[in-house]
């Protein structure tokens, strides 16, 4: 059975708002609706089952360079009229900005993506519960030292539409499902934790065995970990950690930070900012990316943008505002955090061009190093403006080409600028993770490890 695409209804609502624009006004309406299900299983029973529905509209009005916005969590027509009136009133308090304005169609063709799967719509509740129970069982069977904290199935569908007085008219929908399991491994008095996950457009794409295996490995491999001595060392970031690191790097390659004087890399286009081994692209048109999409939050076609090519800085990601202000072409990177937020520039799907060797081959060539398997506190220890980088970490020491003793309760620190230049190898073990960046093993020299 195929479910009809109802996102066109949302576009009608958005267009109705846009049609109410007064002379001299630019108006944008963003309308969204979604439904999600979450099942949590604990000790073979359903702990909770959540069915969540949401909808809302956000309206932006710009006149004489002044911007006002308003939003509400309902699509009730009487409320929508009030939201438009509020946005209009609010713009009177904004200050004129000559670069203010909505996105305008720029002729870049949309690369269609298949973001919807009817099979997920037709999956029974019983099957969803069964999957979460099965994942718990598979995980527990993996190792007798392992307990399961919770095993979760969740799925979501969302549809959205954007219309503007500048001629943007787009609507679309997507769905997907996600399984995750949290683990605890005990050995005497000591406990360590892990997690595993699987993602897909439908439940048949979910790899439960792998999720269970990773959840067991992550929790058990740190048992017996000690605190290492402080020193400078070569680090190998696991693909999952690299993806988090790339997310931070992506945050610094942002046109809005440049125009507002907060970017480490302002005025550096064409300069060598990283080791020549590094080529970093933002490409939401790659269907393998978890965050693949066809249009950005402002309604422009999503597109491939090379940010760093062979170590040389090529471009920044832009919202329509920052592109206009920098005098460059839009990059289709307007990000939107739901109906309540205004779009801002951000990376959509970062990908690092992989090297050739596996993690095992890379490790075999390292005499003294550390394999970083998890990081903690990136949000508190990294400053994207100054470039200071310091994060809690756990992993395995590397001695004479083999991984050995587990270590924890230490930090690794450097600066973002230095780390990019200190990249020593990019692994060939590309992983598509449920994040806005891909993972690959990444070797970085001369990082400070602080422990005992």
């Amino acid at each position: 059975m195929s479910t009809p695409d109802r996102s066109a209804e949302l576009l009608v609502i958005a267009e109705r708002v846009v049609a109410m624009a007064k002379p001299g006004e630019q108006v944008e309406a963003y309308v969204s609706r979604g439904l999600s299900t979450e099942v949590r299983v604990y000790e073979g029973e359903v702990e909770h089952f959540v069915s969540a529905q949401s909808e809302g509209i956000g309206i932006r009005v710009i006149k004489d360079g002044r911007t006002g916005t308003s939003y509400c969590g309902t699509l009730d027509p009487s409320q929508i009229a009030e939201v438009l009136a509020e946005a209009r009133d609010n713009l009177g308090y904004g200050e004129p900005d000559e670069w203010s304005g909505l996105a305008e169609p720029d002729g870049v063709a949309v690369v269609p993506q298949s973001l919807w799967d009817d099979n997920l719509e037709n999956t029974s509740t019983a099957r969803k519960i069964e999957l979460a129970k099965l994942l718990e069982k598979l995980t527990l069977a993996g190792d007798s030292r392992v307990r399961v904290d919770d095993s979760n199935y969740s799925d979501a569908f969302g549809e959205a539409a954007v219309a503007t007085t500048t001629g943007i008219r787009v609507a679309g929908r997507e769905n997907g499902c996600y399984l995750s399991v949290g683990t605890l491994a005990d050995d005497g008095d000591e406990t360590q934790t892990g997690f595993g996950f699987a993602v897909g457009r439908n439940v048949d794409e979910l790899d439960l065995e792998r999720a269970a295996r990773e959840a067991v490995d992550r929790a058990t491999r740190l048992l017996g970990a000690t605190k290492p001595e402080s020193r400078r060392i070569t680090v190998v970031l696991d693909p999952f950690v690299t993806a988090q690191f790339l997310g931070i790097i992506g945050g610094t390659l942002n046109g809005e930070s440049v125009v507002k004087g907060r970017s480490l890399f302002a005025n550096r286009i064409g300069d060598v900012v990283a080791h020549p081994l590094l080529t970093l692209v933002d490409d939401p048109t790659n269907p393998l990316a978890y965050t693949a999409t066809d249009i950005d939050g402002e309604g422009l076609a999503a597109r491939r943008n090379a940010l760093i090519q062979d170590g040389v800085l090529q471009k920044f990601v832009q919202s329509s505002y920052s592109a206009r202000r920098m005098g460059v072409a839009p990059t289709g990177n307007g990000l939107r955090g739901g109906y309540g937020g205004s779009p801002s520039a951000g990376c959509l799907a970062l990908q690092i061009v992989p090297g050739l060797r596996s993690q095992a081959e890379i490790v075999a060539g390292i005499d003294d190093g550390i394999l970083i398997q998890q990081v903690q506190g990136l949000h508190s220890g990294v400053n994207a403006v100054s470039g200071d980088f310091s994060t809690g970490a756990a992993g395995l020491l590397i001695k004479n080409g083999t991984v050995g003793a587990p270590v924890r309760e230490f930090t690794i620190a450097s600066t973002l600028q230095k780390m990019l230049l200190d990249i020593a190898e990019v692994g060939g073990d590309l992983e598509w993770l449920p994040m806005s960046a891909t993972g690959v093993s990444l070797v970085i020299h001369d990082v400070t490890m602080s422990g005992a």
Binding site: Y42, E45, V46, H48, F49, V50, S51, A52, Q53, S54, E55, G68, T69, S70, Y71, C72, G73, T74, E86, D89, N90, L91, Y93, G94, E95, D97, R147, D149, L184, T191, T193, S230, R232, K260, G261, G340, S342, Q376, G377, H379, S380, G381, N383, S386, G387, D388, S390, T391, G392, R408, E409, F410, T411, A413, T415, T448, M449, S450, G451, A452
Partner: protein
């Protein structure tokens, strides 16, 4: 917002499939936000979100559904979904008679921010921009945000409880960039209270702006933080997040029940230095984490968690308290009507010690003085936690000397609690915080007097 007779019918619908507990949590939030950046008021935004979440518990299974439709039909539909999700066979009807709880006021509001003109809110940010930029010629950028929100809440459950609450919070955030020979540095400060617009009669926004700008300027001269273990002195009102992470989360009964806390089974034991008495206090008037009732309708409380180093109790919500056959502690909280309640902290703080804070610094030959902290996080099962230092200095020969660049500190909760060897008499609350757990954020406060940890690992780059 919703009449009692409708609530009664909705709760009865929730119990139809044989559940033993049903609850309606309805809220109506309205708020205003103003953003200033790059010298301009970028935009003023107003919003409204309202709806109801319906929770149905049958045995160990919870069903939950929410709706933005507060009509009886909308609520009944959500109740049916929640009841179906928690179905336990059985079935039947139960009559519910609701008794409205007398309303309770913990943080009286003098000036509802929604009665203040938008121009006055814009003006606050203009003053912030001016003050931060006049703090020093090196200040190159300022961004600031003002926000206020007013939430009306109704909670009703099948045990007969109906409780109403109204919450008003007002927040100002300032972030400054300073530009020097060695690159850019940032400084941040914020002011937030469970209070109306009278907040700005008590505190001058210029002071908040100058504090943020001062942090950025100080760090222009900063040297890289040390790498390795050293004594750490934490200034009063800046290190409450240490306790939030080092042990607060580990004392949440839901994590304890699943054996995901290093503090499981430790009630009655010495878990911290005898200097430490730790409290979670939802009744602390006007603080950011203050609530009159929690999000399950239970009155907020003053709960002693650790007394003179001995663990006295965990924090509890309805479900975990019911499972253990004991009273709730007023710690059942949720981000919005779209979320299930969980055990959460409110205002978590360490009571005063007896020492003069200057003596603590004087008696520390070498170490780090942390004057302002960023966020943190913890793994409750291992106790390992980190937090970021956003203003810190070296201590050399008992004196505060050079400023340090940013970095994380890392420690193990139980170890750090035991290693607190000095405690000051200068208690202060810290900045307003948002605590994240399982994807939900709730407002929390924290505080402590100046204190010293014998040894912590500092994640800098200087040897």
């Amino acid at each position: 917002m919703i009449d009692n007779d409708i609530l009664e019918r909705v709760l009865a619908e929730g119990l139809r499939t044989g559940a033993d507990f049903a609850e309606v949590f309805a809220s109506d939030w309205r708020g205003t936000g103003v953003g200033l950046d790059d010298g301009k008021i970028e935009q003023l935004s107003t919003g409204r979100n309202r709806g109801a979440g319906i929770r149905v518990i049958a045995g160990d299974t919870t069903g939950f559904a929410h709706t933005a439709d507060l009509s009886e039909a909308g609520l009944m539909a959500a109740a049916r979904v929640a009841a179906e999700a928690a179905r336990q066979g059985g079935g039947g009807t139960k009559v519910i008679a609701l008794t409205t709880q007398p309303s309770r006021i913990v943080s009286p509001i003098k000036i509802d921010p929604s009665t203040i003109g938008k121009a006055a809110k814009v003006d606050l940010l203009r003053r912030v921009d001016d003050a931060a930029r006049s703090a020093g010629g090196a200040i190159s950028q300022v961004s600031a945000g003002y926000s206020d929100g007013r939430t009306r809440i109704v909670i009703a459950n099948s045990d007969g409880l109906v409780a109403h609450d109204e919450r008003v919070r007002t927040l100002l955030r300032v972030s400054a960039v300073a530009n020097g020979d060695a690159g850019m540095q940032t400084g941040f400060d914020s002011l937030g209270h469970t209070m109306g617009f009278e907040l700005f009669d008590k505190v001058q926004v210029e002071d908040v702006a100058r504090a943020a700008a001062g942090r950025a300027l100080t760090k222009l001269k900063a040297r890289p933080a040390p790498s390795g273990s050293l004594p750490v002195v934490i200034k009063a009102g800046s290190g409450g997040v240490l306790f939030h992470e080092a042990c607060g989360h580990g004392l949440e009964a839901d994590l304890v029940a699943k054996g995901a806390s290093v503090y499981k089974g430790k009630v009655g034991e010495l878990v911290a230095s005898p200097l430490v008495t730790l409290v979670d206090d939802g009744t602390m008037t006007h603080e950011w984490g203050a609530i009159a009732i929690d999000d399950e309708g239970h009155p907020s409380q003053y709960n002693v968690l650790i007394e003179n180093g001995i663990l006295t109790d965990y924090m509890w919500d309805y479900l975990r308290a019911r499972n253990e056959g004991r009273p709730q502690s007023g710690n059942g909280r949720r981000q919005s009507y779209k979320d299930l309640p969980m055990v959460r902290m409110t205002n978590t703080y360490v009571l005063n010690g007896e020492e003069n804070p200057e003596d603590i610094i004087k008696d520390t030959p070498n170490g780090v003085y942390v004057a302002h902290l960023g966020g943190g996080s913890v793994n409750t099962a291992t106790g390992d936690f980190v937090f970021g230092m956003t203003e810190a200095y070296l201590i050399e020969n008992g004196e505060i000397t050079e400023p340090l660049r940013e970095g994380n500190l890392i420690g193990n909760g139980p170890q750090v609690l035991r290693d607190i060897d000095r405690l000051g008499n200068d208690f202060a609350m810290g900045n307003p915080g948002t605590c994240g757990k399982d994807g939900q954020g709730v407002p929390v406060g924290d505080g402590q007097p100046t204190l010293r940890v014998k040894s912590m690992t500092i994640g800098g780059t200087a040897s």
